[in-house]
Homo-oligomer: 338 residues x 2
Amino acid sequence: MNPVNLKQLAQELNLSVSTVSRALSDSYEISATTKAKVQQLARQLGYEPNPYASSLRRQKSKTIGVVIPEVANNFFSLAINGIEEVARENNYHVLIYLTHDDAQQEATIVQHFASGRVDGILASLAGETQDFSHFSKLQERHIPMVFFDRVCEEFATAKITTDDYRSGYQATQHLLDAGCRHIAHLLISDHLSIGQKRLQGYLDALQAHGLTPDPALLLRGTSNKDRNQTLIQELLQQNPAIDGIFASVETLAMSSYLACRHLGRRIPEDVKIISFSNLEIADLLDPPLTTIAQPAYEMGREAARILFKSILKNRPILPTQSQELKSTLIQRKSTATT
Amino acid sequence: MNPVNLKQLAQELNLSVSTVSRALSDSYEISATTKAKVQQLARQLGYEPNPYASSLRRQKSKTIGVVIPEVANNFFSLAINGIEEVARENNYHVLIYLTHDDAQQEATIVQHFASGRVDGILASLAGETQDFSHFSKLQERHIPMVFFDRVCEEFATAKITTDDYRSGYQATQHLLDAGCRHIAHLLISDHLSIGQKRLQGYLDALQAHGLTPDPALLLRGTSNKDRNQTLIQELLQQNPAIDGIFASVETLAMSSYLACRHLGRRIPEDVKIISFSNLEIADLLDPPLTTIAQPAYEMGREAARILFKSILKNRPILPTQSQELKSTLIQRKSTATT
DNA sequence: TTGTACGCGTTATCAT
DNA sequence: ATGATAACGCGTACAA
């Protein structure tokens, strides 16, 4: 059984292809009776319009592309939920591409979008990305694009972020208030602006409290979790004074838990830990993890909304449409004072 | 700047469209020099072939559709990782659709696939699904389809599952060995075959130990976590003898943790808990959760491999290509004997 | 080795 | 109210 097309419907009904097409799109110029006949047969034969023919003709793909580092990550999977919801509301389809934090792969993916496969793009940068020329080329082609979370500052488009500087400051402040004086900061990447902002918040908070940041207490995580745990263990051993850890991403907090356990450091008695995290069950950890939770779902949704506003109204996206949402610090036992 | 197409390249080079087309596909009938010229200009102008025109012409979309209940779920996000990897290896694109466990939405999505938008489908059923006719229609159209995890037994196609009966038996056995005599079983849905198998394993294990299963100890979870926690609390209160919980999915285990905490039941002293789960950090929970971990990534990968074998060789998928992978019981403190 | 012509399925324009 | 026709961009059979 082959896919049914307009021609077959037309033949069956002794109508022209164009009449059938119009009947199906509920055009006002078609009589009610023909409409009914056509639509009934279409339903009966399970007719589905060929989306590629339609895309070719209309120069619209009804598809958006989502480019993210990983999907097995609470933040991104929640964001996808938000994106998918808005896409469905607009009868759009969602193509997912994973960069695995590899700039080269990201470039390949984005380059492909010059083909017209998607009407718009939602992207969160690979940690490695330093050269943004692949994105610029898309801008020249006027393909609307919204960045979320791991944004590219330089681009004249909308970006959905959270108040990373403030959160970084607040997290550090929280540890200081809890009595920590030697706070390590674990970051993801040297290149991401959100990482830089969180770092700057950390540095400023320390200095505001009369403390001199110690570069030895900064650790760049890798993509390998075992390696990260080892690095953190070494950090803790080489700097026994460390009494607080501020992790920029969830996995680094988890590696810190394992490192502490391995070294016999108690949380929060010996080391207090706070982390950016969208772990739903932070409360069920041992000990419960104090988190800065980003509104991941809302970020995905807002990014998608802005994108669709542009696609549907055929207007360029302006940087002024950017939004900065608020993260929430949720205090739990991992930073409790004894 | 408009998307570049073959016509423009042809004009620029004083060649015909077909020559350019052939040069780009590295056809043997084109001279090396023209090929070089064409390819250079194509690169220079950032030419990307229009995938929709190509799909229309070739009747191939180079796209697969993935239909799953949720993405914010460790099992499914890991599976997507596996799927995406295989898709990328084959230069295919991945469309993601979420059913949110709603059979109606699933039917709508699947129905749309009759349009030819995808060359193949990977699906994991919505918990609610009872009527499978939407899938049958696709089979009539010979669109290759592989089910994974939440499979539909009735279909003559490949299914990737885990040894759910054995795991259900083993999980129950594990609790029995730990001394439990009143074991509750929390399931997702009455309709999913994997749920039925796990349940059967549970029932058989009980009976093999001379215990009579008590229907009052079976609880069907909902899609609402708070509601689930309430239900579990009621279950525990109405059946104070319960000393073991076997959860069929991770969220029900987490709700059980919260329920126990709320009621002051200690884990594992008062109640031991075991659950199907792909939580990476089960070990960091309080107490660490004994899990049956499914090879989610591998399942996605294998399902995708089978699908691509069919797509690329243009052969139907046979039920004999089905695979049953092994889950692993990882014993942790939540089922420890005191 | 290259060019011409057609068709994939749909939609939009122009006629009747 | 309906039909004929062209075009979207690409790939291929056939011609030259």
